[in-house]
């Protein structure tokens, strides 16, 4: 028995011995309890509740967090290899390119009211299109790269933040997707957080999960996009309904239909941490790297977890 539990040793013994009194409860009591419980807190709503924020606020917070990280980096840190053929400075250059693409996409959507469906196909390659900006950082002072990124990120916030123009419902084409601006901002927040953790890993700094309000937006969107991720890996043919339970602050509970046309009882339940799940969606961990409790159809669970990885941009 560990010291932690030793304090409660007598209570535990008492609890175990109380089993002697166990009696079968009357029929219907369980159902009455469930009904009464759901009146107190609807299903799917986490406890304790997490304050809701807008996608604009989430993006703003993540920009601030990323900015603080960059401000803390020394010269050696900026040279560390992070991703693909990029060091930290190159990765920040990539993000400067992403901001420019994002601003252009928002401008185009503003002009026509909403991006035409064809714009999603024409949006180009997320990595290839930003590579010239990433490469252009080589030899520049790191502080200039940082200042350029900060300036362009603030410009993005000004473009979307003042009076919420355009509307968060406006469809924007970016990275081969065509999504409402609100969803796109959550994806942008996701992207910045994933790259913040990339830099933290590369520079041997502790990882930093998003705050619970931001994480809630991320888990909600990621679970909503899960069917698309599973389709992307060709795993939706033999579909079914799954219950996704993401634990910890920023988590929740969702029923997700994978290729299933009709509602049906869930074939599998996946329980895992909200932050782990988001790292999975960012393709920074693999399904077997995370602690997940799976009950039911293991095959479907495997396709869902691999489909989550397929949602990653880079």
């Amino acid at each position: 028995m560990s010291d932690t539990r030793s304090t409660d040793a007598l209570d535990e013994l008492w609890g175990a011995l109380a089993e002697s009194d166990a009696q079968v409860p009357p029929p219907g009591l369980g159902e009455r309890i469930l009904n009464a419980a759901l009146l107190e807190r609807p299903a799917g709503r986490p406890s304790p509740p997490v304050p809701a924020i807008s996608p604009v606020e989430a993006f703003d917070r993540q920009v601030s967090s990323f900015d603080s990280l960059l401000a803390s980096l020394g010269d050696v840190d900026w040279r560390r290899h992070v991703l693909r053929d990029l060091d930290v400075q190159g990765l920040v250059g990539h993000l400067i390119g992403v901001e420019a693409q994002f601003q252009e996409s928002v401008r185009r959507a503003e002009l026509v009211g909403s991006a035409p469906a064809a714009d999603a196909d024409a949006a180009g390659d997320h990595v290839a299109d930003t590579q010239p900006v990433a490469m252009a950082q080589r030899g520049r002072p790191a502080q200039r790269t940082h200042a350029d990124w900060r300036q362009t990120a603030r410009r993005s916030l000004e473009q979307i933040g003042e009076g919420e123009k355009p509307s968060l419902e406006t469809r924007i084409a970016l990275h081969g997707m065509r999504l409402p601006l609100g969803d796109l901002l959550v994806i942008r927040t996701f992207e910045l957080w994933i790259h913040e953790e990339d830099i933290r890993r590369a520079t041997e700094r502790p990882l930093a999960p998003p705050d619970p309000s931001t994480l809630t937006l991320m888990t909600e969107l990621a679970t909503r996009l899960l069917p698309a991720g599973v389709s992307r890996i060709g795993g939706a043919a033999d579909g079914g309904t799954a219950r996704i339970v993401l634990t910890g602050a920023g988590g929740g509970c969702w029923t997700v239909r994978i290729g299933a046309e009709q509602a049906e009882p869930a074939r599998v339940r996946i329980v895992t941490g909200a932050v782990d799940f988001c790292r999975l969606v960012g393709d920074r961990v693999k399904p077997f790297d995370i602690e997940a409790t799976i009950t039911g159809d293991r095959n479907l669970a495997g396709r869902i977890l691999n489909g989550a990885c397929a949602l990653a941009l880079d």
Partner: protein, 214 residues
């Protein structure tokens, strides 16, 4: 512990992926996962909690209140409160079973005496021979708690093997009587009988030490 151990499994088996594992493998779903699911808003978790612990809480409430109706009210209050604020349970500090039992006894006594938790604690401690219970809020309290735990462990070691086995499964393993019976291949009645004998012997064994500690 005497004799070969049988593999222990709870009624519901689940599968967990692990960092070190190349394949999915079955493991037990512990209280911690159940509490995390409750906090996430998984309503199936409250149904499972009732399925697992409902008879325990109901039986305890009936014994304290002596009333079928009052016992039902207590059970409903306990499980609705668990769903309302699952974060009140800290699985690292103790089992969900004990938490629910304490809640049930508090509420049952409250119904009967309107003197809530204080009376409940007195009642519980009375059942445990009025042992002095240390506080963990300071170093002295923690040391005393550790000593209490050692005394309890030593007493359990002195039990006959078949009684020690059921106590260890029920106490350290957190298993219900039916789970203990299934794990050992004995009837539920036999498991209960051994636990009663063990409890009686523990009271005798622990009485002098607890009097000294007090």
């Amino acid at each position: 512990m005497a004799g070969p151990r049988r593999p222990l499994r709870r009624p519901e088996e689940t599968v967990r992926s692990r960092r070190e594992g190349a394949t999915l493998r079955p493991v037990v779903e512990w209280d911690g996962v159940l509490c995390a699911r409750l906090a996430a808003g998984d309503e199936e978790a409250i149904a499972e909690a009732f399925e697992r612990y409902g008879s325990l809480v109901y039986g305890l409430a009936r014994r304290v209140t002596g009333s079928l109706t009052a016992a039902e009210d207590v059970v409903q209050e306990v499980f609705v409160a668990l769903w309302r604020s699952p974060e009140r349970v800290d699985p690292t500090r103790g089992s969900l079973r004990t938490f629910l039992c304490m809640q049930a006894e508090c509420r049952a006594v409250d119904l009967m005496r309107r003197d809530a938790c204080r009376s409940a604690r007195e009642h519980r401690q009375g059942r445990l021979e009025s042992w002095a219970r240390p506080s963990a809020n300071d170093a002295e309290g923690a040391a005393q708690a550790a000593m209490t735990a050692r005394v309890v462990q030593e007493a359990i070691r002195q039990l006959p093997p078949e009684q020690r086995e059921v106590v260890e499964l029920a106490y350290f393993g957190g298993r219900s009587h039916s789970e203990v019976a299934a794990a050992l291949g004995i009837s539920v009645g036999t498991a209960k009988g051994r636990l009663r004998l063990a409890y009686s012997k523990l009271r005798r064994l622990l009485a002098p030490e607890m009097a000294e500690m007090a």
